[in-house]
């Protein structure tokens, strides 16, 4: 399974759960933090010895960067199973006074290509 995900927040936790349950998953983490990505790569390998994690460092708030990232991914992968898009900046939706802390701060996208589910 191929997942493209992020380096923190919901993107990160989705990638983690994915790795835990999938057979030979290949994960692309797209984000700005090399350090975070390195931690996750190590952790994911321990969680699932067959996991392959690739980090693409990019600021995806720019569309031209998105194009570069996609070019890189499509050169390596014929198939993408899961594309998890969770990059964002906190906004406060205050209509009913509740704070909705939905969005992780760092850019992250999860693509999980070619998974064989357990």
């Amino acid at each position: 399974m191929h997942l493209v995900g992020g380096t923190s927040g919901i993107g990160e936790s989705t990638a983690r759960e994915f790795i835990r349950h999938a057979q030979a998953p290949r994960v692309y983490l797209v984000g700005r933090s090399q350090e975070q990505a390195d931690h996750l790569t190590t952790e994911f390998k321990e969680l699932n010895g067959e996991a392959q994690t690739h980090f693409i460092k990019s600021d995806v708030s720019l569309l031209r960067n998105v194009d570069e990232v996609c070019k890189e991914i499509s050169a390596k992968e014929e198939k993408v199973n899961l594309l998890v898009l969770s990059a964002g900046i906190l906004t406060m939706k205050g209509r009913d006074g509740m704070l909705s802390c939905n969005f992780p701060v760092h850019c992250r996208y999860c693509l999980y290509p070619d998974v064989n589910r357990k």
Binding site: M1, H2, L3, V4, S8, G9, I10, G11, E12, S13, T14, A15, R16, E17, F18, H21, V60, S61, L62, L63, R64, V66, D67, V69, C70, I73, S74, E78, K79, V80, N81, L82, L83, V84, L85, S86, A87, G88, I89, L90, T91, M92, K93, R95, M98, L99, S100, C101, N102, F103, P104, V105, C107, Y109, L111, P113, D114, V115, N116, R117
Partner: protein
């Protein structure tokens, strides 16, 4: 409003334009995945499904200072995501792909780090209250839920608006926006932005 060098609001770019660009760029790979074992091809945008609202169709990118507000930016990103995902799902070429717009609810991520001191205090005070009310999801659990949404047979093909518990979100507003033709306007506008920024390498100026 924070404008990127490409002429788009940064929030709107991260929440809508950038995500849609990922989805449209990778359609060939998603299509290939949908026709091969295990026939799984899914795009999930973690945003705010169910919170669509009336939005300013004459200023979709919210470039006019008077139009812009945090709420408008959220509204636009959410509504445009649902409408464009629907558009993609309705394309027969994308038959085996599902497009999921998720509302994760309140999740305890480390999301407050960019906020000011006072707001941070308010947010951390709110967390235990939300937790007691059963409205707070841990990051780990949210990850599990999103993997479930990403792999469950329930969401095999089509467009879905999904809430924090994996339930179907209210879609009356979305359906109305669609009936009113907002989807066409959004798609046309999105293509225009992509053409200008990605096609021509120019700044988008409305």
């Amino acid at each position: 409003m924070t404008e990127t060098t490409e002429g788009l609001d940064k929030k709107l770019s991260l929440h809508y334009y950038s995500r849609l660009r990922f989805a449209t760029n990778l359609l060939p790979q998603l299509r290939a995945a949908s026709t091969a074992e295990p026939h799984l091809a899914r795009v999930i945008s973690v945003l705010g499904a169910g919170h669509e609202g009336n939005f300013n169709t004459s200023d979709l990118s919210l470039r006019n200072p008077g139009s812009y507000s945090l709420r408008a930016a959220a509204n636009h990103a959410i509504s445009m995501t649902s409408l464009s995902f629907d558009r993609l799902a309705c394309d027969p070429a994308n038959q085996g792909i599902s497009f999921v717009h998720s509302n994760p609810g309140a999740v305890n991520t480390n999301v407050t780090r960019n906020l000011g001191w006072v707001t941070k205090k308010v947010v951390s005070a709110a967390m235990p209250i939300l937790k007691m009310a059963g409205m707070l999801t841990s990051v780990a659990e949210s990850g599990e839920r999103h993997v479930w949404v990403g792999t469950s047979e329930k969401f095999k093909s089509g467009m879905f608006l999904i809430g924090p518990q994996g339930e179907k979100e209210a879609d009356a507003v979305f359906e109305r926006l669609k009936r009113e033709g907002a989807g066409e306007k959004v798609w046309g506008h999105t293509k225009e932005v992509y053409g200008k920024v990605c096609g021509e390498g120019q700044k988008y100026e409305g």
